[in-house]
Amino acid sequence: MSYSVTVQELIDQLGRLPGIGPKSAQRVAFYLLKAPPEDALRLSRAIAEAKEKVSFCDRCFNLSEGGEECAICRDPRRESRLLCVVEDSQDIVAVERTQEFRGRYHVLQGAFSPIDGIGVDQLRVKELMTRVGEEDVEEVIVATNPNLEGEATAALLVKYLKPMGVRVTRLASGLPVGGDLEYADELTLGRALEGRQLLDAGDD
């Protein structure tokens, strides 16, 4: 038996969402059909409203609500000499949670991955270079993921930012807080050794 056109359309549209296969799409569709009308309408309103109000910031390409620039770019208390470069908007939330960073951000909207056809043109590198040239940025902190693509992205940014005479730093990699040394993999432990911190110079 096949579903009516309307139900099938709902299932097809749900099935296009990431991580939702045909079977999950069916399950969600039937949940929505059984749910009280106001529940389903609330969802559809939330989607419509988010699509209408949220766009990408003209300056940093973070998600922005109501306006051309995002809340962080508009905030005058943010230090403009520090610029933290991340792959996606979600990463800004992660860095913000640390409450350690008071500078501004730049979202690349992806990572350098030739095999997926993602190169300089697909990333917001040109816009980053324009910002570094025009704003009073003193330090660019590369906060891309510590994986293959993230590291390659960092190398790519160094290549283009080097001639601009700006200080470029990379997030440190090391041991997770609350972990055990004996369970660390050799690569992470090696990086932690490489980037070790001075506790006492021992010269007094």
């Binding site: 991580g19 350098f112 991955s113 030739p114 095999i115 997926d116 056809g117 993602i118 190169g119 300089v120 043109d121 697909q122 590198v125 040109k126 270079m129 994986n147 293959l148 590291e151 390659a152 190398a155 790519l156 290549k159 283009y160 997770p176 972990g179 369970y183 993999d185 050799e186 690569l187 992470t188």
Partner: protein, 241 residues
């Protein structure tokens, strides 16, 4: 339904579910294999870092019922560190992985192909020559029995001068029969040396005027036979602004 050990180069990785990855591997004894790395995206994963593309690893897999084997242990043999620190060489290395991913067959052992890939990656890791990738592509074509005919005109059998190369015809052409794209004498010499077993000698020399031509040609021939474009190559010459 058993455990097996092998050596492999990690070709590609895709996210799977919450914290897993599907890893495409080219192994020494089992050909191209797809495996699941369980929980490798978690920060607590012991071998997540070892399963990134462009790694040469020693690996243990569990062969289950399905298409996907389960990766149970991984040790690094070589990470090709310099390739990761140089965006241009990184793109070339990924192009080689992409080509192997396209050419290799699932679970068809191909030791020669595996050794070729490992050698090409380690050569590129030490040598910045633009011809490493081109040389690998040409050797890959030869390995598949698709190398261009370079000795005489494929149409009439005439000798020098040979002035053009046509992929549909399968090789070089003389002045009278020429079709396809023009080919310089220097580039023809380079192609002959690379396919004739002197890739090492070619790489040791400084880059000549025909290097760029051979680089483009090798990619074009491979793309012609694959019947698709290599995405990594399309990304290579991009510059911002």
């Amino acid at each position: 339904m058993s455990l097996y050990r092998d050596q492999a180069v990690v070709l590609r990785a895709w996210k799977l579910g919450e914290a897993d990855r599907i890893i495409s591997l080219h192994t020494l004894d089992h050909g191209k294999v797809r495996g699941v790395g369980k929980g490798v995206r978690r920060t607590r994963s012991k071998f997540g870092s070892r399963l990134e593309p462009l790694s040469h690893v020693s690996i243990q897999l569990y062969r289950g019922r399905g298409d996907l084997d389960t990766i149970t242990q991984v040790e690094t043999i070589d990470r090709f560190g310099s390739l990761r620190a140089d965006p241009d060489r990184f793109a070339r290395a990924e192009a080689m992985l992409e080509a192997v991913e396209q050419v290799a067959q699932d679970r068809e052992p191909d030791r020669a192909l595996h050794m070729m890939l490992v050698r090409a990656l380690s050569t590129l890791d030490r040598n910045d020559s633009a011809l490493v990738m081109a040389g690998f592509f040409l050797k890959l074509l030869a390995h598949e029995g698709l190398q261009p005919q370079l000795d005489e005109c494929v149409s009439c059998g005439a000798g020098e001068p040979l002035e053009a190369i046509d992929f549909n015809e399968g090789g070089v052409l003389c002045r009278n029969c020429r079709s396809g794209r023009p080919l310089s004498f220097e580039a023809l010499q380079l192609l002959r040396r690379i396919l004739g077993g002197d890739l090492g000698g070619v790489l040791a020399e400084s880059t000549g005027p025909a290097t760029g031509e051979v680089d483009l040609l090798a990619t074009a021939i491979l793309e012609h036979h694959l019947e698709r474009r290599l995405r990594s190559v399309a990304v290579m010459d991009q510059t911002p602004g």
